[in-house]
């Protein structure tokens, strides 16, 4: 799918919004970067291809005062629904340009395949193959090999909310029960194995906060309690318990809110599976309250509501 239809839509949308957020090419053909369009001449810069990985919906709360058009993939659209549930955006001031998506690439995976050579060109063939040119030559990859993990279980290739659709809707072919297969697999490990796993992972965290900054649902940003003294939850000491605590803050604050966009994991310079705990929490929210974040605007995030009789919570005995 080319970006032509999308450009047409955006030309239209631009007439009654202050700005449209889309993708343009980044520093090479493997990287896309957000572009903020407020003049018709900028529309030509717009691109759409599987390198458009970033979740552009994340910008919406900070632009609450403006009328904004935004280009979203299926996965990104859940962010908008979640914002609606939490009252973080005014839906009437957002125009959603949805793109049915067949999967994106993980830049990291591609770079691994081409041994981190400089990228000269990336071509997406009609049959789904990807040609990556580097000084070392041309490598042919298949999308499935270099997609981020989230794409392999994606249930919402077509945005769950949109005003315009840039192509024909796509039906998901993925099995819903596979979404949390990784969670269930991990649960098969012993307590000790799990503990060792997380301690090893979190010990590598350099507390750069890139994951938090990229997370569309981390509403606190500058007020994040991982960096404040009042309240003073964690010190700046670089030891395991403080790092672990940071990830617990991040995860627990996202309980039943994480839209599984995978941005946190994508941006982590240390390759830490930052999204994994949130997926586990989502898995539990689904089981306990039949709640799935970012799908139905009418839902209420489970941590901000309750039922007097909780059907699925059993009293714990000693």
């Amino acid at each position: 799918m080319g970006p032509e239809k999308m450009k047409e839509i955006i030309t239209d949308v631009l007439k009654d919004v202050d700005v449209v957020i889309g993708y343009k090419q980044g520093f090479d053909k493997l990287h896309a970067t957000p572009c903020f369009i407020n003049k018709a001449e900028q529309i030509e810069e717009i691109i759409w291809s599987p390198v458009c990985v970033q979740n552009l919906a994340s910008f919406l709360p900070s632009l609450k005062a403006k009328k904004v058009g935004v280009v979203v993939k299926g996965c990104d659209s859940r962010t908008i629904v979640q914002y609606m549930q939490e009252g973080l955006i005014d839906r009437s001031k957002v125009v959603v340009v949805g793109i049915p998506c067949t999967g994106v690439v993980s830049v990291k995976k591609v770079l691994d395949k081409v041994n981190h050579q400089p990228i000269e060109d990336v071509v997406f063939e009609a049959d789904g193959a990807i040609l990556v040119k580097t000084p070392a030559g041309e490598t042919k990859l298949s999308l499935a090999d270099v997609s981020p993990d989230k794409c392999s279980t994606c249930l919402y290739p077509t945005p769950v909310v949109y005003d315009h659709l840039a192509a024909e809707p796509i039906k998901s072919v993925k099995a819903p029960e596979d979404v949390y297969k990784d969670v269930e697999e991990f649960e098969g490990k012993s307590l000790e194995e799990r503990k060792v796993y997380w301690e090893k992972e979190f010990d590598r965290c350099i507390r750069c906060y890139a994951c938090r900054n990229a997370c569309p649902m981390c509403v606190c940003q500058d007020s994040c309690i991982a960096e404040s003294r009042d309240p003073h939850w964690i010190s700046q000491k670089s030891n395991l318990s403080e790092k672990f605590m940071f990830h617990m803050i991040h995860s627990i604050h996202l309980a039943g809110r994480c839209v599984e966009c995978g941005e946190c994991e994508r941006v982590c310079p240390m390759g830490i599976p930052v999204n994994a705990l949130k997926k586990k929490l989502n898995h539990d929210m689904k089981a306990l309250y039949n709640y799935e974040p970012g799908v139905n605007p009418e839902d209420k995030p489970p941590m901000y509501t309750f039922s007097v009789e909780e059907k699925k919570i059993e009293e714990h005995k000693l």
């Binding site: 010990d203 318990s241 586990k280 941590m303």
Partner: protein, 145 residues
């Protein structure tokens, strides 16, 4: 922690002022014997208990954490324990994923008149933690600190 007798383990309790703290008082007034491991933190409501307090305690030396509030529908603040129940259940299910035995964390509801129930809860929970042993001797081995 020099004060801690070697036979004791580190157990932290968060008790709501109106019901469970009162229940613990009732147990005291009735002279119901209890193990000495527990250290109690008084909070107005179980709804005040941020699950992160529990995580903080468990990551920093606690071997077990107990939270107790008013019985559902009996919250002094109407709904506080309903929120608490969701938050605490969330944590209860998350802990084993992190490799922390969920038995190290217990939450329950005890009213101000249930001194006996409080005694039983403290006794049983303390025994449970002793059965599990200390949480932290193993941690130290992997800790980078």
């Amino acid at each position: 922690m020099s004060e801690i007798a070697p036979k004791e383990l580190r157990i932290v309790g968060f008790l709501c002022n109106w019901c469970s703290y009162g229940g613990a008082d009732t147990a005291g007034v009735s002279r119901f014997r209890q193990p000495t491991d527990l250290r109690i933190i008084r909070v107005p409501c179980s709804g005040r208990v941020d699950p992160l307090f529990i995580v903080k305690a468990l990551l920093n030396g606690a071997d077990g954490v107990l939270v107790s509030g008013c019985h559902p529908r009996d919250c002094h603040y109407t709904d506080g324990n309903f929120y608490a129940r969701r938050r605490l259940e969330m944590l209860k299910q998350l802990l084993p994923y992190l490799g922390i035995d969920e038995k190290r964390f217990h939450y329950t509801w005890i009213s101000a008149s249930e001194g006996q129930r409080w005694q039983k809860t403290v006794t049983d929970f303390t025994n449970q933690i002793h059965k599990l042993g200390p949480l932290h001797s193993t941690t130290e081995a992997h800790s980078g600190s």
